[in-house]
């Protein structure tokens, strides 16, 4: 099994040059058969477009108060109704997609860069470096990640950049561990030996040979990670540690609507739906990507 895996990765590595595009096409071709995953992909594309063209899609400004129109239910003028300041909830959700996607992608970016670096160094060098890095990761993991994010937000205070940093740091251990185990499974393979014999520097070997060969699990983890980051960020805003009003963050909107849930439930239903649909899309896309990237896993 192990040998077979290494052999596969070797041939993949040799084939990779000049065929990166073909591989992407292959994966996409396999994923196309998975209707649920494609559905997820379409939703994500729509969301990204919504975020980019929010100015054109949103009928109202997200922060303009209109006290005449407080708490109105869904109607032609206000698709999802208005909140306690008479702001259009649909417009706020549209602008909120910008924030949630930003937090999702950037915090995963932070976690990816740090996690991949830590995992690759620990796995590649082994020995004391590995022991020390992994002990630190273990200690960080001894806290549920949302708690770590809460602790970091407590220090940094509310704000978009801080939110991304907190959620990102909390997610580092997951990536570090995945990358480390992938590195361990390929670092003794022949093509890495060959690169060493060629006199390539460690840095070059890690960047050019090792990381490209453990991309599959990283991509899957990152896709699911975006979903997770969005939930965590919304959760932090919900308990008042994330973004502050009048920012149209979905979690913060839920938190704002909570006080009025008895009389105006539309204030909590729509932002929540936005979160759930986004998370759903990312989850099915992540599952589909996993199956497409590693057809052997699929029974």
């Amino acid at each position: 099994m192990q040998e077979e895996l290494i052999k596969n990765q070797e041939t993949e590595s040799y084939e990779r040059k000049g065929s990166g595009l073909r591989k992407v096409k292959d994966v996409f071709h396999r994923m196309k058969k998975n209707k649920l995953a494609m559905f997820g992909l379409v939703i994500i594309i729509l969301l990204v477009l919504t975020a980019i063209f929010a100015d054109f899609i949103a009928p109202y400004d997200y922060s303009t108060n209109n006290l005449k129109d407080q708490f109105s239910g869904p109607s032609k003028e206000h698709l999802f109704g208005t909140d306690e300041f008479g702001r259009d909830i649909f417009s706020r959700i549209v602008y909120g997609s910008r924030i949630s996607l930003q937090v999702g992608f950037i915090s995963v970016g932070i976690a990816l860069i740090a996690g991949v670096a830590i995992g690759a160094v620990a796995g590649f060098y082994g020995g004391k470096v590995d022991t020390i890095l992994m002990r630190v990761i273990d200690i960080i993991q001894s806290l549920p990640d949302i708690l770590l994010a809460i602790a970091i937000m407590a220090v940094l205070g509310p704000g978009l950049a801080n939110l991304m940093i907190a959620v990102g740091i909390a997610a580092i251990p997951g990536y570090a561990k995945i990358v480390r185990s992938s590195v361990l499974s390929i670092k003794d393979s022949e093509y890495v030996e060959a690169a060493k014999a060629n006199g390539s520097s460690d840095f070059r070997i890690i960047i050019k040979h090792i990381i490209p060969n453990c991309l599959a699990p990283i991509i899957v983890q990152a896709t699911l990670g975006v979903a997770y980051a969005i939930i965590n960020a919304a959760g932090l805003s919900f308990i008042g540690l994330g973004l502050e009003p009048p920012t149209p963050e979905w979690g913060a909107m839920l938190s704002g609507g909570r006080a009025y849930i008895r009389d105006f439930p539309h204030m909590t239903i729509f932002p929540g739906l936005a979160i759930v649909i986004t998370i759903f899309a990312l989850n099915v896309l992540g599952d589909g990507l996993r199956d497409a990237l590693d057809p052997k896993l699929k029974q």
Binding site: R135, V136, D138, I139, I140, S142, L143, P144, D145, I146, L147, I150, A151, I152, M153, A154, V155, G157, A227, I231, A234, G235, F238, I239, G240, L241, G251, L254, G257, R258, I261, R262, P265, T268, I269, G272, I275, V276, I279, F280, N283, V284, Q299
Partner: protein, 309 residues
Amino acid sequence: MAKYIVKRILLLIPVIIGVSFIVFGLLELSPGDPARNILGTNASPEEVTALREEMGLNDPFLVRYGRFLKDLVLHGDLGDSYISRTPVVEEIASRAGYTFKLAVFAIIIAIVIGIPFGIISAVKQYSLFDNITMVFALLGICMPVFWLGLLLILLFSVHLGWLPSSGFDTLPQMILPSIALAAQSVSVITRMTRSSMLEVVRQDYIRTVRAKGQKEKVVIMRHALGNALIPILTTIGTQFGQLLGGAVMTEVIFSIPGVGRLMVDSIMMRDTPMVMGCILFVAVAFAIVNLIVDLLYSFVDPRIKSQFS
């Protein structure tokens, strides 16, 4: 076995030291002066300086951390709250019961629903039951606890008026928070049980057991489940950690005076010792759960037991 347990309990020490060091360091970086916070904005600079001296805030970081550790190890003391001036340990002890009950109820719900549904789904793979279960499991994973909690309140408290929407002392009060918190874990455990069972039931020894003419119930419950349990147990362990994190949101939504709620309130009030205590409490609880899970492995799989000696 006893030796292994002692060793594992001793291993908690570096975890506590590590977590407390990281959190102590983090909180050290947080803005604001605790002495100023306690005295309020009207206090004179002299008063603030005096209080800083009294609280030992002027000592270097490592000295203060050393003192914190010494108090913790020698006296089980986590300091006093900056706000209420009561010992942190007492405050946490008075609230830990709520968080503990909430998390335990939720994990019980998750196990009692997740494992049977996962087993039936695996046994009847691709059946209507399986498909419906998997759709619900997928939905459960996408549903953040804070939204589900609000929806449950909306339906069962506001519209139907069946269950209270806050507190956690009587049984009716416990139902909604436990379900809200459990939902995600139910889904994860169901999916894990299903895939773990599917992997096992394809193996040769299961075919052998069937060939011997064993009843299907025994084949599934004893032979298949027995071997599928390890990954399920691991999932339950990690889920418990997630539940401790999710308890923070649940306590906020349902106004439950647990440790999670205490932590959020303390963060808002910049009550550093209290925040520290709450985080350490969760880390230790999580570590103990992981220890229990590891010990359970040996009951499920005798092969693991032999490694303990």
